[in-house]
Symmetry: C2
Subunit: 119 residues, 2 copies
DNA sequence: CTGATAAATGCAGAACTTTGCATATATTTA
DNA sequence: TAAATATATGCAAAGTTCTGCATTTATCAG
């Protein structure tokens, strides 16, 4: 490791070292989510959420993919995925708050979860 | 993980997310060192080094142990030790710069390395 | 084309970190 | 006790990050 390596590493760690960003990553490491879900999850205004996402995107930690009206984000750095497991434990396939969060959402991902209107 | 967990995690990551502190930890994860060695290693003034050490100490990442005139620091959080391996790879027992650094040092650790004066 | 919705961007003030420097403390040696 | 050495602390200026808010862009549905 030379000076540049320590700097690159510290830059990536700085991107992670923030409570709301860790919370975002804890969701994104399970499955991709659109901004509207993260907004609901954090209970913060949309520009705030987009800003944290931008920072993570510019640090190369997450990637975005547009899908219709929505933008889906995922953790795209496999090394960071491994770090997140080390920080927070491996993902448990069990009780995931996702379904609560998105009950009211109509983005392509949620639509199938919402029961048909008057069935 | 609740809000407080994300905050505690981010506080510890903030302590690590700094190039000189990572460099210090990369040395300390191998073996304990006194401040004078770290000063020689970084080539930074002593108060600067002590300040980074204080920050790491207050974050609970390293511990100090006084030994005569010197203070030896080591990584005392086993979880952080594992993180450091994940960030920088496991320690290789091979060429370690320790011996170069301390050639001119007379602290208890180094004294045995220095050849007797006019043998 | 218009209006609605999803997301991104820009900016400014507050808060926090970083770093350099002067000084303090504590231990040892003479 | 005095001088020397190792380390810690306090403080202030410069730099960076954080957050809230106003605005912009892009896409989709009518």
């Amino acid at each position: 490791m030379d000076k540049a390596d320590y700097e690159a590493l510290s830059a990536r760690l700085k991107a992670l070292a923030h409570p709301e960003r860790l919370r975002i990553l804890d969701v994104l490491r399970r499955e991709p989510e659109c901004v509207c879900h993260l907004e609901a999850l954090l209970g913060k205004p949309q520009p705030y959420v987009s800003q944290q996402l931008r920072l993570l995107r510019e640090a190369g930690v997450i990637c975005d993919q547009k899908q219709g009206q929505n933008v889906f984000y995922r953790v795209c750095d496999p090394e960071v995925l491994a770090w997140l497991d080390a920080f927070m434990g491996p993902v448990d396939g069990s009780t995931y708050e996702h379904h609560e969060i998105v009950a009211a959402c109509v983005c392509p991902k949620c639509a199938p979860l919402v029961p048909p209107l008057a069935a």
